[in-house]
């Protein structure tokens, strides 16, 4: 069973009794989002099971972040029915550390309980920022700040971790280290994860399941059955990568030719 009561984020529809099977922690039904005449999310159904790592791919403007924000409860204009765990955390593309609070105060912001600060220090240790608890956020590098944001998300022991392109602004080397860190933390805290990204390799390295969002609907929903440790050179990796790129409208061969023309 869930550690926390599921919370129904019901925006415009009438609430109905919820049936959540004991493995499903996220259930979104007929989720639609309109901005004026534009339909960004068109009647989407989505389920995520306990501890499952789901990557959501899509071209820019495909509505990936809109769906994530709906699941985070940040969008009250969304239609449909969304049931999510009460304990959920969001990591945004920018670390969003409050500059006027120390790193530790940022991590435990809003956290209740007498041992909140001890928990915060423990998680900061885990993300490799043990010595930075009393530092101001301005002293952190981009990667360190994002690790602090990850610590802030995990110290709440979320049943659902929502990651909105969390590594998009980091350099390639830092990103690789963040992937390893995230895998380790997910193995320890076992939250269900929804990772919004436009990086196909990132999705394949981390996720149990990949969704592709096209024109407001989920156009592809595939399990990632690649043996761990996953390597970019594996045949299974390469073929699933091609399939996902094709779904995203990228023709590798044509793009490759194009690149050759440029030189």
């Amino acid at each position: 069973m869930l550690d926390h009561e599921p919370e129904v984020l019901d925006a415009l529809d009438q609430p109905r009794p919820t049936v959540v099977d004991d493995r499903t922690v996220v259930r979104a039904t007929s989720v639609t989002r309109r901005f004026g005449d534009r339909v960004v999310l068109d009647d989407i159904d989505l389920e995520i099971r306990k501890g499952e790592f789901v990557a959501l791919l899509g071209r820019s403007g495909s509505g990936k972040s809109t769906l994530l924000r709906a699941l985070a409860g940040l969008d009250t204009g969304v239609e449909g029915r969304i049931t999510v765990p009460a304990a959920r955390s969001v990591v945004f593309q920018d670390p969003r550390l409050l500059p006027w609070s120390t790193v530790l105060d940022n991590v435990v912001l809003g956290l209740k309980g007498a041992d909140a600060r001890d928990q915060g220090r423990e998680v900061l240790d885990e993300v490799g920022l043990g010595g930075h608890g009393d530092a101001w956020p301005k002293t952190l590098s981009g990667g360190e700040a994002q690790r602090a944001a990850l610590a802030r998300a995990l110290v709440r022991q979320p049943e659902l971790l929502l990651l909105d392109e969390p590594f998009g602004a980091l350099d390639a080397l830092t990103r690789i280290r963040m992937h390893v860190l995230l895998q380790r933390l997910c193995a320890r805290y076992t939250p269900a994860v929804l990772l919004v990204t436009h990086d196909v390799d990132e999705a394949l390295l981390l996720a149990d399941r990949v969704l592709v969002l096209t024109d407001g609907g989920i156009s592809l929903d595939v399990p990632v059955e690649i043996a761990t440790p996953r390597l970019r050179g594996d045949q299974a990796f390469i073929s699933l990568r091609s399939r996902l790129l094709a779904e995203l409208g990228v023709d590798e061969v044509a793009e490759g030719d194009h690149r050759k023309d440029d030189q």
């Binding site: 985070a72 409860g73 940040l74 955390s89 969001v90 945004f92 920018d94 969003r96 409050l98 500059p99 006027w100 609070s101 912001l109 809003g110 101001w136 956020p137 301005k138 802030r152 709440r156």
Partner: protein
Amino acid sequence: MTAVANRPEQLLGLPGVRLVDLKTADELDPEQRRPKRRVPRSIERLAGVVLLLALWQLAASLGWISPRVLAGPANVASTFWDMVTDGTLGDAVWVSFQRVAIGMLIGVPVGLLLALFSGLSRVGEDLVDSTMHTLRFVPIIGLMPLIIVWFGIGETAKISLIVIGVTFPIYVNTANAIKTIDPRNLELARTLELSRWATIRRVVLPAALPSFLVGLRMATGIAWLLLVFSEQLNAKSGIGYLMIKAQTFFLTDVIVVCLLVYAVLGLLSDIGIRLVEGKVLRWQPGR
């Protein structure tokens, strides 16, 4: 060809590509790298003031400027010492300081509360904001006749004028900071399920603090200005009163002493606020 052999493109031998040698530390000899000043900067800065004082003293000593027009520096200095030793200056400064302090102790919280009310609620914004921005353009000094009608010419009148003058810069700066707060931080507060009070205390108020302090510095300047004005108009004590009394007897030395005291008091309060700023805004980048 040999004449231009030293040009960079010739050295590297790339015809058709224009190259330039960039200036590096190698080309400067060691003495040039850290230019030595003949006169330290701080002394150079003081030199202008000293020169002005010297000219002023010279003009006074040679009788070019009559003491009835403007007393000389030596005269001003000895008058200052007399006023300090007989206690007149200390008493006047204490009275004036109290007026400014009481005015600010009332005006700052009033401006702050109005800013919070206007920044944190839609009703508050509708009721307060446009009203404040309209009243802001009423010349505060022009309110004096009205204030005298309301409160007479006692302490209440002087302090009210300072309260009114202080409220506006505090309000305008703080309310604007609250209104332009980064919406991403408010979104963060929602995902962390902060209560409304916690959001105000942890996110809104710290974000508004730098602007509030700018407002506080402006308010302090305005408070001293209004104090001078109201003390010269109707007072039985304070620095402004000393000046008006001196004016009737053409005691320009006393007037100059009072002006300098006002300047020093204004400067000291500004330095005080800047010290506080440096302490509470340590988190800001570039500090």
